[in-house]
């Protein structure tokens, strides 16, 4: 009797195995049967990083090239803390967040006009006109800043204020995308920022500062 029931169950399974499978098993079994008739599978091609490296002549100094490319994506490259404070004061950006680890280095450049917080309070994100955090790297060829969970003190501090200032050191600048990928740190959140947040959704007109910063600054520390 039991044998008969089992045999029946088997027969049903054979006819409609899908009914008895989890989504995972269903998908994997469908993939296997879809690929079974293929004779030779397409091989994985190899390619040289040079293929995607731009061909034009470039300045030899990594910061010079980065700054040029960063300007091309509407970024603001600065080379001294006082340059930064001048820029912020000139635009009336006087209240901001600063990574507590960076503040000792920058403190002397900020005059008493500024209000700097080293804690970021998410209940009043619009109070912060600027946020200063450290970048973990940069890509010269594309004018890209690289942020990460371990280097960048607050995800929100680097995103919500109108101005984001990322500090960068010369030694952290990669020449191109393949070099940056090859040296990508084991961090769960690596972010490449290439210029200010932008959209062209409305009639194709470019507007900067959609959800993230409308002004992206790179500050060279050394």
């Amino acid at each position: 009797m039991l044998k008969l029931a089992l045999a029946r169950l088997k027969a049903v399974e054979g006819a409609e195995p899908i009914l008895f499978m989890s989504s995972r098993e269903q998908i994997l079994s469908r993939v296997r049967s879809a690929l079974a008739p293929l004779g030779k599978r397409a091989a994985l091609p190899d390619w040289e990083p040079e293929l995607v490296v731009l061909r034009e002549a470039r300045p030899t100094d990594s910061w010079t090239l980065f700054a040029e490319r960063f300007r091309a994506v509407n970024g603001t490259p600065l080379t001294a803390a006082t340059e930064l404070t001048d820029f912020l004061a000139r635009n009336n950006y006087l209240h901001g967040y600063c990574d507590p680890a960076l503040f000792p280095t920058l403190r002397s450049a900020f005059s008493s006009r500024f209000t700097i917080e080293t804690e970021f309070d998410r209940s009043r994100i619009d109070d912060y006109q600027f946020g200063i955090t450290a970048a973990v790297g940069a890509i010269a060829e594309t004018g890209t800043l690289i942020l990460s969970d371990s280097a960048t003190s607050r995800r929100l501090g680097a995103l919500a204020p109108w101005v984001h200032v990322a500090t960068i050191r010369r030694a952290q600048i990669f020449p191109d995308i393949p070099a940056a990928i090859a040296a990508m740190p084991a961090d769960p959140n690596i972010i490449w920022c290439t210029g200010p947040s932008k959209t062209a959704d409305v009639e194709g007109i470019l507007i900067e500062g959609v959800h993230g910063p409308g002004v992206q600054v790179a500050l060279l520390l050394a």
């Binding site: 989504s23 091609p45 998410r122 960048t152 607050r154 919500a160 990928i181 062209a200």
Partner: protein, 491 residues
């Protein structure tokens, strides 16, 4: 003009047609400029990228379990959804387990496919699109008309009216003001949300990194403000190695928007690190099939290489005239004409006309960053439509049924050739169809000469049979005579 796509194009208001046409043309020109100015041989990039993705889809049986293991080792939870319903239910289950009621979404085409928004809303979940274009689509209860520029069919005045209606300030159609208002409104929503939902442009099998690209930074905001990240990922999004991203990211940004890189390129491989105060403590990846394995089983599997850049839409002369909604599905344009009917499964007949909506000019293949032979796939689908007798696959096709009956019966063929002479006495000035009358005013219908060829061939064969005349075609003579008697060669 019986094809549904033609009918739609004919009713498209001039204003919408102009905005679709101009934005597509501009996007295509930007793409071409940046690719050809900056790379010595962009076509080689496309070819290699295509080979990489073809390799992946032909090895999904090994790669899917591999990437699952990698993601789990990185601390992400992996889920599988065979159908659209399974995928929606999985999102709901994850949310309910956390007691979550609010979700902010960054742009994902898979969520459009599975109609997640209405599913969640019916179950009391507040779901909000954060990409500016998708947000406008949501408040208008509209559908995206382009993969990359969802509101390319709308102008600023329509958007300003929608914002006014939704209480986002008095009428103002300045794009800057529209964007600022969305910024103010949406940032409060991110901070109040429990879950951030994204798609993924790529997942590296090597490292388990999810790659998400946005220009607005909305997916970054979703992953900075919420405590739980859910990623909906089509099973075909895998790429073998991190370094392959160097090629694919370069091609994606250039092909989609003519940028060297998209503004925010995020590599996410798990929940936030311990020392980081912001961001998800939980990360869930839902691998979605929803018809993809069926596509994989067909000769059209190459379409699964697609990286959703929209370049084929921008260049397509049919898309430019008809706009995205004419395709009546989530994926419009040439890629949609292949992918949508295939993903439709049993509902294929309802979209069987889409593969016909193409002049097969091949421009889509030429711009495709992963070199998908779209025109070949369109032809395969046309054949499938005919084979399965889908009525829409024959709309606009000349009726060949009667011809094939006549052409396969020698007697009928002979009779038709003689009967055809009647056309010489046709009063063409009085044709019942206006289009034919118009045609007649510019051209003269040639006289019917049916049967002339057969007459000529017969004479020639008879001559060859006369022993005095040397045969020009030698022993082939009689066999030619035989074939000459076959009706399809007559006339």
């Amino acid at each position: 003009m019986k094809q549904p796509l033609d009918q739609f194009a004919a009713t498209l208001p001039a204003e919408k047609h102009a905005s679709v046409y101009q934005s597509s043309k501009a996007a295509h020109e930007k793409r071409t400029r940046i690719l050809f100015d900056q790379f010595a041989d962009p076509n080689r990039l496309r070819a290699i990228a295509g080979e990489i993705k073809q390799h992946v889809i032909e090895n999904l049986d090994t790669y899917l379990p591999q990437v699952e293991a990698k993601l789990q080792a990185n601390g992400a939870q992996v889920h599988w959804a065979a159908t659209a319903d399974d995928a929606c239910a999985e999102v709901l289950r994850i949310m309910q387990a956390r007691g979550a009621t609010k979700i902010v979404k960054s742009k994902t085409m898979v969520s459009e496919e599975i109609e997640l928004e209405s599913y969640l809303e019916q179950r009391g979940i507040e779901s909000l699109e954060t990409d500016l274009g998708e947000f406008i689509i949501q408040i208008d209860h509209d559908h995206p008309s382009h993969i990359v520029r969802p509101i390319t069919h709308k102008n600023r005045r329509e958007i300003a009216r929608s914002f006014e209606r939704e209480g986002l300030g008095a009428y103002n159609d300045d794009p800057q003001t529209i964007t600022r208002r969305a910024r103010e409104f949406l940032r409060k929503k991110y901070l109040a949300a429990d879950v951030g939902l994204t798609g993924a442009n790529f997942i590296s099998i090597e490292s388990g990194r999810l790659v998400i690209v946005t220009n607005e930074g909305n997916s970054r905001f979703c992953l900075a403000a919420t405590k739980c990240h859910i990623a909906l990922v089509g099973i075909e999004k895998l790429i073998p190695r991190d370094r392959d991203l160097g090629l694919l990211l370069n091609l994606l940004a250039r092909s989609a928007t003519g940028q060297q890189l998209t503004v925010y390129t995020e590599f996410i491989s798990g929940p936030k690190s311990a020392e980081q105060p912001d961001g998800p403590e939980e990360m869930h990846v839902i691998f979605v099939d929803n018809g993809r394995t069926d596509v994989l089983a067909t000769e059209c599997r190459d379409i699964l290489r697609c990286i959703r850049c929209g370049a084929c839409l921008n260049v397509c002369p049919v898309y430019r005239q008809a706009s995205g909604h004419a395709y009546r599905s989530v994926y419009p344009g040439p890629v949609g004409a292949v992918l949508s009917p295939l993903l439709a499964g049993k509902k294929f007949p309802a979209l069987a006309d889409l593969p016909k909506a193409s002049s097969l000019c091949g421009a889509c293949n030429e711009v495709c960053p992963v070199n998908i032979p779209i025109p070949d796939l369109l032809l395969r689908l046309r054949e499938k439509g005919k084979r399965e007798h889908a009525p829409l696959a024959s709309v606009g096709s000349p009726p060949m049924g009667a011809w094939s009956i006549i052409a396969s019966q020698p007697a009928a063929w002979k009779a038709a050739l003689i009967g055809g002479k009647l056309i010489n006495y046709l009063p063409t000035k009085m044709l019942p169809v206006a289009a034919l009358r118009a045609w007649e005013t510019k051209r003269t219908l040639p006289a019917w000469r049916g049967g002339e060829f057969r007459k000529w061939l017969k004479q020639r064969t008879d001559r060859n049979r006369t022993p005095n005349v040397p045969s020009a075609i030698g022993s082939a003579g009689p066999s030619r005579a035989e074939t000459g008697a076959r009706p399809t060669q007559g006339g």
